[in-house]
Symmetry: C2
Subunit: 759 residues, 2 copies
């Protein structure tokens, strides 16, 4: 089976090209390059190259200055433009907007880790060229981006000239009318030097406010005899490489452009390191392609999924998984942005999306990435403690709602900072990592401290009233109701956090360094028993009359929004209604209580979950791409097969079909993670226990089968769901206990396979 | 008795001079002039002249752009500087910061309507001058501001030169660190022409965004032979009048500077009108002073108050009343700003302060001003309807929380726009005006429509739940808890509004134009009966356990803020704690439920009010200057005499003692109105009924008596409270029924007097 996503044909309009820039972007967790056309377009598009976690500070003045409100934010920067390659045949400039494009196809090969663009073009005067662009951001050399360009004259000999640019003073894309994009496009980079080492051109730039340095090194190899030279434009801090050769009919010339980027967050000497990497990369593209394949073969060996009976679903799922692999930071200095490294939507910020929607994917397919994502959060702990203090807390850690390097970047705190659940979400990820990886070293050095500090936040936020523990004035995942009391999801999250903080401290007790650790963090027995008491008495709203869990303490006393009567062009509601109006109705942007049902197994009785699910179904707009996947999972768990499939169908191809009309700004990484969970945790019913795995498969009606691989506590496993039966195979690792469709098995040795029939 | 407020002595430091600029400002409801020194200071102070309701638009970008949020606001402009007069004796410049100030005294004569500054000064070289400045903004010619300057050489003859400036391109005062002041000081005026008519210099300017024109005409009279000329500086759009004369020892020269200001909001030809007023004013200062005295004699005849036994309290109260008279817009195009016309704090915006804290004063002392304030609100009705639509309402009028010309100018909606009670407050003022003035013409042409539209807002905001009518997601007066359900004050306000809307429509039914009116507004019987039902079932939170009225539905489940443990320098809390932290505690910035007890007579049983009062006392910081006065009134009503006095004492001299440390930015007009109410409605226990007046006097212990005059339904009355007894005298108007200390009387004819002894 080939893992290739393809698009071909016309029209080559703004909408399609912008969307393709996102869908065919290349990234490796460090570098991200939009799938911009080498030759440029006539539209204003997001011509971007990004480094994960590389940012500057942007002012964000508050309309009314209140104590503690953020007045500047971090923003991911567009760091350079090395994509531009202009090709001329006998002086005629190749462009999709002149002459005739006879054929065009773009593809992403997820085994090769390469995107490709194949064009047959006839110039206005009749010169025909075949041009193939291949691009790669190397998983093995994360600082490297390569462009390979094959040029073949089809109509006769011609003189070919190439202009290849390297521009350092680029700007971010801005749209003052869209709250999800930056409003200003000020240039945040200032020149910081240029060097030419033989034919490697190096441009250095610094960020305006953070003073971070970025280095871009560019070099070219051209397979045919040619004349070439570099030219530097000091005013624009840009360099131009020009080459010229005589091309013969049907003879292919191969140009390779290497870009190496380093930054001062990771390197003490970006230019030196870039030059060193350039030396390793030059001339070795074939080897680099092989290493890329090997990296991906290893990945698919751990992660592969095959949906049988629907090629469309299959390729969409693989596409989602590949994007997640591309997007994840792996060096502990960054995370996974809401748009990955594919675009500037949400300004490169990391949200709770990482922990709650993507982390489970990495945990099951690339545990070393999962660990690094938690290391990043651990590094942010001092900021989270400061943030808690700013919010008036005596203790604890409040993670910023959106951030890059630790600063709270949300401008409207009622649906930003007030989402305290993010601290519980991060704590949840710590526990999941513990359950799936049993990484004692991490728990001792980082995890337990994170669990403790987040638990402390909830202890300091909540209070006892009439024998129960309440958490007031927070915002749950559903941003259509803000600043509420006893949000069901938040309280469930806090309870889990408190329980696990106590457990984690307990687990550490036989560690020789425990006493020093406990003293450093000021842990007392009283504190732990207070946490246990609060967890045990946590208020989880339940309404006797309807028999459901209300989203918060006053949710049910509000009128129900009339979704039937809402014009279709009034969605998403947040773009058409004042927040205060939204707050006043029972209407949900996304899964909130329903998410709690998925995440916190057993948080409610099944009949309560069923009634609640049906209740929230009627009032949820799914204006967030984080919603339908969760509804699908919970529908699966409640045995509502048809609904599970319908919600999944709405979600799976969100970016491929541009369902939210903003794929141009970047992929929806959380949605992609949600789709993965909808199959693995939803249809396959996977639950990770402390010592065993449970699977409760229900194959969607349109599929003939589904198989996927995953990792758990050092083992690799393969699960196969069929119409008739399902089977789990231990591929590697030690014995494991499993429950499949209610039947218990033990797989003792690699190759062992358990089969079960759905009930 | 002389109604004069005086300050004398030293030091002349920044704090004192800034505060005096406010305390000795001159205003007449149209023009306001800060008490800035003619000769300038070495400090950065707020050198301002203002026209009520004259504004420009200032950008107010939201940190996060949400649907419907205000992105620009109106700001009162500093319109000109004609205050500057530089005096030189033999070339030595008079200044408080050179030579020696031997004597200095400032005063405000509230019978004369004039401020005065008397200085004896010795120059560095030993020339001694006596200088007296008198300033007046005329109540009779509201466009006129006069400065009279008497200069007397005490040490010998000298040559005196005068430089008198007129500057048109002034800027507002800015402090980027104080949320209560403008953050930017961009110049909002552009030159729009200059004319010199004989010796009258006229400068015209236009506002940058609103395109409003302002005209400043200046002329001088000097009582001694002199040489004089005008000079115009085009670049600065400023004019300089220079005069020179030879002065003899002990001979007084008298310079009069006339400033006339007109604006295009009020005039179709500002320059022509200014010139015409100038012609009327020139040479007639003595007459103008007399007219000013006559105007004030008439005012005090209606409004006078005398506190016997405490000169300090007496002068403070008269000061407050005089400031209210100065501050009120009277032309239906403006209202009373939070700082009146005395400074730029709160950017000249009008809040609910006008209706709830100041309106009662005007109603009882200057009903024609009260009417004009309502006319201003009626003119804003179209904006309020638009605002309601923006907030998602199908019907009704939501008045902007802060505004000048109708635009919502609050940047943080949770403690701005969400304060829906402002619509109910305005409706309340309409009913009070009806009860006190029985102005049928107003009710028909404006009042009933206002009551109906505000009532509609509450109908559209609230909803039925379990047999009661609830109003969710609004903010009450207490801004330390925002976006709550069933705020007690708001719901009480809404109930009153609904009841009176129905009554007002009922009253209109025998009006010949009723049918057309009802059709225009789409009034139906169903709507009115829905309003009656909602009012009858309005949820007014009551807690069985504590026996109090909670401020909102979840107030009591929050922990109580530990005010004892809060450092004194952490007040006001809003300057030291994140709003979300404040929201999470039982802590009140100001009277909220307690205010409802004052405003809505009988809204709770006396024992409930008593318990609630004592409860809220413990958790209210009075960080707002609108708070202690209300606590005083309710304490009076509950018979807590000692508390009533203590709260009153905290409030009465707030600006004179600079209790809130920001008198420099302007007076606290609402506080001043609150102090008036604390005497009239609190200590004297005045309640205006529909057909009668009730008084329930309790004289504060430190006073020997208190007498005040007031107006009611066309009558003038005098109330005298003594230690032993109290008496009400009908001064003019028809028979009136009164209840004093529980005893019923009817005063039949002017001169009739009823005496009663407190119970």
């Amino acid at each position: 089976m080939q893992r290739v996503y393809r698009e071909s044909g016309f029209p080559l309009d703004e909408e399609r090209l912008s969307r393709q820039e996102t869908l065919f972007h290349n990234a490796n967790g460090y570098l991200g390059v939009r799938g911009t056309l080498e030759e440029g377009t006539r539209f204003k598009t997001m011509r971007g190259m990004y480094i994960n976690g590389f940012y500057d500070i942007v002012p964000m003045k508050q309309a009314e200055k209140l104590y503690g409100l953020t007045e500047d934010k971090e923003a991911m920067l567009n760091v350079a433009d090395t994509q531009t390659i202009l090709i001329r045949a006998n002086g005629e400039l190749f462009s999709l907007f002149s002459g005739t494009v006879e054929e065009i196809e773009r593809s992403l090969d997820m085994d090769a880790g390469v995107t490709e663009r194949r064009i047959t073009w006839r110039s206005p005067s009749g010169i025909r060229l075949k041009i193939v662009f291949k691009r790669m951001t190397s998983f093995v050399m994360p600082h490297l981006f390569t462009q390979e360009c094959e040029i073949t004259p089809l109509s006769g000999p011609c003189e070919v000239t190439v202009e290849s640019w390297q521009k350092a003073l680029v700007r971010n894309y801005a749209d003052p009318d869209d709250p999800r994009l930056a409003a200003d496009d000020a240039c945040h980079l200032v020149p910081d030097g240029r060097e030419l080492w033989e034919d490697v051109d190096i441009l250095l730039a610094r960020t305006l406010h953070t003073g971070l340095q970025v280095c871009t090194a560019v070099a070219h190899d051209l397979s045919v005899p040619h004349k070439a030279s570099w030219r530097y434009d000091k005013a624009d801090h840009a360099a131009l490489w020009q080459a010229q050769y005589d091309a013969q009919k049907d003879e292919t010339a191969r140009l390779i452009k290497y870009t190496v980027m380093y930054d001062s967050v990771r390197s003490g000497a970006p230019a030196r390191d870039a030059l060193s990497d350039m030396g390793k990369a030059r001339g070795g593209l074939t080897r680099l392609y092989q290493e890329q394949r090997a990296y991906l073969a290893d990945f698919w060996d751990r992660a592969d999924m095959e949906i049988q009976g629907s090629d469309e679903d299959n390729i969409a799922m693989l596409f989602n998984m590949y994007q997640l692999l591309q997007s994840a930071g792996r060096d502990g200095k960054c995370s996974v942005a809401a748009k990955g490294l594919s675009g500037e939507g949400y300004e490169g910020h990391y949200f709770w999306d990482t922990e709650m929607y993507m982390f489970p994917f990495y945990l099951l397919t690339a545990p070393q990435i999962a660990r690094q994502l938690l290391m990043y959060r651990y590094a942010l702990l001092p900021f989270a403690r400061e943030n808690a203090k700013l919010l008036g807390h005596k203790k604890g850690a409040l993670y910023p709602w959106r951030t890059i390097a630790g600063r709270e970047c949300s401008g409207y705190f009622p649906s930003g900072t007030a989402q305290y659940h993010i601290s519980g979400d991060i704590a949840y990820a710590v526990t999941q990592y513990w359950l799936a990886a049993r990484d004692e070293d991490f728990m001792r050095s980082c995890g337990a401290e994170m669990l403790l500090e987040t638990a402390r936040l909830f202890m300091d936020t909540g209070n006892w009233y009439q024998g129960r523990f309440h958490i007031n004035d927070v915002t749950g995942p559903d941003e259509y109701t803000c600043i509420v009391n006893d949000n069901f999801y938040t309280n469930a999250c806090a309870r889990y956090n408190l329980e696990w903080a106590v457990r984690a401290v307990g687990m550490l007790k036989d560690w020789p360094d425990y006493a020093a650790w406990a003293e450093r963090l000021g842990v007392t027995g009283q504190e732990l028993s207070d946490m246990t008491a609060a967890a045990g008495a946590m208020c989880l709203p339940y309404d006797e009359e309807t028999g459901i869990n209300p989203q918060d303490d006053s949710f049910l006393q509000k009128p129900v929004w009339d979704l039937q009567a809402t014009p279709r062009d009034h969605f998403p509601l947040l773009m058409h209604y004042h927040p205060l109006h939204l707050y006043r109705y029972q209407v949900c942007k996304q899964a909130d209580t329903v998410l709690a049902y998925f995440i916190f197994d057993g948080v409610a009785a099944e009949d309560v979950m069923r009634r609640s699910f049906e209740y929230y179904e009627k009032i949820t707009t799914h204006d967030s791409s984080l919603s339908t996947c969760v509804f699908s999972i919970v529908a699966s768990r409640l045995g509502m097969a048809e609904k599970a499939e319908r919600y999944f169908g709405d979600s799976l191809r969100a970016d491929l079909t541009d369902a939210h009309h903003n794929t141009r700004d970047g992929i929806h990484t959380a949605n992609m993670g949600g789709n993965y969970m909808a199959v693995v945790n939803g249809f396959a019913g996977l639950r990770l226990g402390e010592d065993s795995i449970t699977l409760d498969p229900r194959l969607p009606s349109g599929w003939t089968g589904c198989r996927f691989r995953f990792c758990w506590q050092g083992r690799r496993l393969l699960f196969e769901m069929g119409r008739e039966k399902s089977a789990l195979t231990l591929l590697s690792g030690s014995a494991v206990r499993v429950v499949i469709s209610g039947r218990r098995f033990t797989l003792t040795a690699p190759g062992d396979r358990a089969e079960a029939y759905p009930v």
